[in-house]
């Protein structure tokens, strides 16, 4: 004992007298007890910590929200207010009518390894799916080493039921979304179409594919299907009447740049884009580049008025054709006299417009056209956008031809947007196919003086009242506009027989709201039009009918003339051409 005491001096302490009846262990026994007590404490500590951890975890689980719980994904979860979540969001028109949507369908595929009797399976499938060929399907079903084979995508519910009832082993269904376009071809060039795998391949579907694919909210277009229907019907009527090869129609909001209607004919069915000739997919309004013809005189005159080289009272010598190198510029409606600015526009004088443009000069004209956006592609939510074609060297001959719409090829959208700018007070509003949010400021840039725009409105009204566009007159709707008849370019020159007849109008012209453009490609004159197939005969009546039909729809019923309207549209027609004023220049 003494050795132990010597070894562990700590234990040496005054020993209290043992209480009676209590056994005190001493020596080795005490030591064993002490060490096992220590072990117990250790074990208890470990367990306490473990329980504390478990307890804390319990509290944690009880209080915190489940994150990434695998079970959550097993449960089918209904979408909150959003409704059915397709892989592509819906596209709706400006009033909310469905234009494109995705509906769930079942697609049929086979696992050839599970097919026992390929011939029998193919034969029985044929009873439900009439369009499959047994000879084709059988070898594919019998093929070794394949485990997946599409048989038919996007079945109808009835077909799915029938196939299910056949009970052929090895056939399976896969849920897939099918993109459908309830309006078929009505919006074909605007919405475009998507392929079977849900990838946008044309129109808005392609241009904002990522937004449509990843979005939650429907995409709202600026187009109105009712107006679209009206424009399409009237354009089709004009094309049929004049045996034309096609045409384009546009309605644009002059105040916001929103495109309310865009029709290009011939068109195709968005549900089956392959069923029509590929040419039908060509969007004349945005991809077609045309020399627009006389409608461009609106820009020539606006340019001269804006630059101050001409006023409404200026006169121009239109007695003789302009001869420049081997070309001669003539007037279609030749007056053979001096013409004032309004007369140049009213009679659509090539000579007058050319002379006005010459006074501004090449640099001025190019800058003006760039300012109006005529030299750059339109920024529209479509993949099909044409890049304008213009001469690299802007020579005097180009200045003159561009003044009356030849030598500069733009799309009809350019023209409509330019006209909207010219009449709406001179503010260029970028055109768009997506509805602008109400209350949000519309982007725009002042590119013309308001006074120029005011004069142009008067001039455009004059054309309809007493000029080349009389056939566009719809009483009470106050249409103003400009006709255009361009000869189409063919190899090496212009074709007299192949024309592009157009009319671009706006109404009510004293306070323009809508720009309406109709363009008919290669119309042929009829008996009724005395063989004429010009813009005034072909496109102007179509615009008149469109305006008369759309006016009440957009809340613009016909109104009687008021002194206010007369004041806004009056053109000083009393002024006589003054030869001297120009001769002095």
């Amino acid at each position: 004992m003494s050795t132990l005491v010597a070894l562990r001096p700590r234990i040496l302490r005054p020993v209290a007298p043992p209480p009676s009846g209590v056994v005190r262990l001493e020596g080795a026994a005490k030591q064993v007890l002490e060490s096992s007590r220590g072990r117990l404490t250790l074990a208890a500590g470990v367990f306490a910590i473990a329980f504390a951890v478990v307890g804390m975890r319990l509290v944690d689980l009880a209080l915190s929200k489940p994150v990434n719980d695998a079970r959550e994904f097993e449960l089918p979860r209904a979408n909150d207010a959003a409704g059915y979540a397709a892989d592509r969001v819906d596209i709706v028109d400006r009033s909310g009518a469905l234009v494109a949507t995705s509906v769930p369908t079942a697609s049929l595929y086979a696992d050839p390894r599970d097919i026992k009797d390929a011939r029998e399976a193919a034969k029985r499938l044929k009873t439900v799916l009439a369009d499959i060929k047994v000879e084709d399907l059988e070898p594919r079903l019998a093929a070794e080493g394949r485990s997946f084979l599409w048989i038919k995508r996007n079945l109808t519910p009835r077909q799915q039921y029938e196939i299910n009832r056949l009970g052929i082993p090895g056939l399976y269904f896969q849920r897939e979304d099918k993109r459908i376009y309830p309006h078929g071809s009505l919006m074909a060039h605007v919405v475009g179409f998507a392929d079977i795998d849900g990838k946008g391949l044309g129109g808005v579907e392609q241009a904002i594919d990522s937004k449509i694919r990843g979005g939650r909210e429907p995409v709202q277009l600026s187009v109105d299907i009712r107006l679209q229907h009206i424009v399409r019907e009237e354009l089709q009527a004009a094309i049929s009447e004049f045996s034309a090869i096609g045409g384009g129609g546009l309605v644009m909001d002059a105040r916001t740049g929103e495109i309310l209607s865009m029709v290009s004919l011939p068109d195709f069915d968005s549900n089956a884009p392959g069923s029509a000739p590929a040419d039908n997919r060509f969007n004349r309004n945005t991809l077609g580049l045309y020399e627009m013809g006389s409608t461009f005189k609106a820009f020539a005159i606006a340019m001269a008025l804006d630059a101050g080289t001409a006023t409404m009272r200026s006169s121009f010598d239109a007695r003789e054709p302009i001869k420049i190198s081997r070309f001669a510029i003539n007037d279609d409606h030749a007056q053979k006299r001096w013409l004032t600015t309004p007369e140049v526009f009213k009679h659509s004088s090539n000579i007058g417009a050319a002379k006005m443009a010459l006074e501004v000069g090449a640099e001025g004209q190019k800058a003006f056209m760039r300012k109006l956006g005529m030299l750059d592609p339109v920024q529209l939510e479509l993949p099909e956008l044409g890049k304008p074609k213009f001469p690299r060297d802007w020579r005097p001959i180009n200045v003159m031809t561009i003044a009356f719409g030849h030598g500069l090829s733009v799309t009809p959208t350019h023209l409509a947007s330019g006209i909207a700018t010219v009449i709406n007070g001179g503010i260029l509003r970028p055109p768009t196919l997506i509805k602008r949010k109400e209350g949000e400021p519309v982007p725009g840039k002042q590119v013309l003086k308001p006074a120029t725009s005011d004069a142009m409105r008067r001039l455009m009204r004059l054309v309809v009242e007493d000029g080349t566009g009389k056939k566009a007159e719809a009483p009470g709707y106050w249409i103003g506009g400009k006709t255009g008849t361009a000869e189409k370019v063919s190899r090496g020159g212009y074709k007299k027989s192949a024309r592009l007849s157009s009319f671009v109008g706006a109404f009510p012209i004293h306070d323009p709201r809508y720009v309406v453009l109709v363009m008919v490609d290669e119309p042929k004159g009829t008996k009724k039009t005395h063989g004429f197939a010009t813009g005034g005969w072909v496109a102007a009546p179509a615009v008149q009918r469109i305006v008369q039909r759309m006016g009440p729809l957009v809340g613009l019923p016909p109104i009687d003339e008021t002194p206010e309207i007369r004041r806004l549209l009056m053109v000083d027609s009393q002024s006589q051409p003054k030869e001297k004023s120009v001769a002095a220049r």
């Binding site: 309006h183 229907h229 709707y477």
Partner: protein
């Protein structure tokens, strides 16, 4: 003492166990119900989605135009048919006696009542009512005999209003000038 507390804890454990068991099954049942409901909602949402597409399909402007052409005798509004609210003549506030006697409804659908007095002809009734003759009532010729117990037929005629009043794009009234 020890035994009593052991018993207490034992009872507690059993009760909690039972409760937990019960709760678990209740939660399971609720979860199954939730799954079922969610599936149902999903199915309904899909159905609504498909029906919306069909609704849009049935409302194609060309289809509506075709249906209107075939079944309605209405024509597009001509510019001359537009009028202004201000152009509508003001009505006198004092009701005309005859108007009160023969309200429009009565003139429209004439009930086959056996009149006590010698029946006035329908035509005179309408004239008395001083209503605009936009109502097309058949058999307006004087009926000599007392009314038979047969209701008068209502023959529809093409509806051609003379003036249509449109305010902010909404059709307000058809007025006859």
């Amino acid at each position: 003492m020890i035994r009593r507390s052991t018993l207490f804890w034992l009872v507690c454990a059993v009760l909690i166990g039972c409760g937990l068991y019960q709760l678990k099954y209740e939660v399971q049942a609720k979860e199954e119900r939730l799954v079922r409901l969610n599936r149902q909602i999903q199915a309904e949402q899909e159905a609504i989605h498909v029906l919306n597409a069909e609704w849009a399909f049935l409302n194609r402007p060309d289809r509506l135009a075709d249906l209107a052409n075939r079944h309605l005798e209405m024509t597009p509004v001509a510019p001359a048919q537009f009028g202004k609210v201000a152009a509508i003549p003001e009505r006198s506030l004092i009701p005309v006696e005859a108007e009160a006697e023969a309200p429009v409804v009565a003139a429209k659908v004439v009930p086959a009542k056996t009149p006590t007095k010698p029946a006035p002809s329908l035509k005179t009734q309408i004239v008395e009512a001083k209503r605009p003759s936009t109502l097309h009532v058949a058999r307006a010729e004087p009926v000599a005999k007392p009314f038979e117990s047969k209701p008068l037929e209502f023959v529809s005629k093409p509806f051609k209003p003379d003036v249509v009043v449109i305010v902010d794009g909404a059709l307000l009234a058809n007025v006859r000038r």
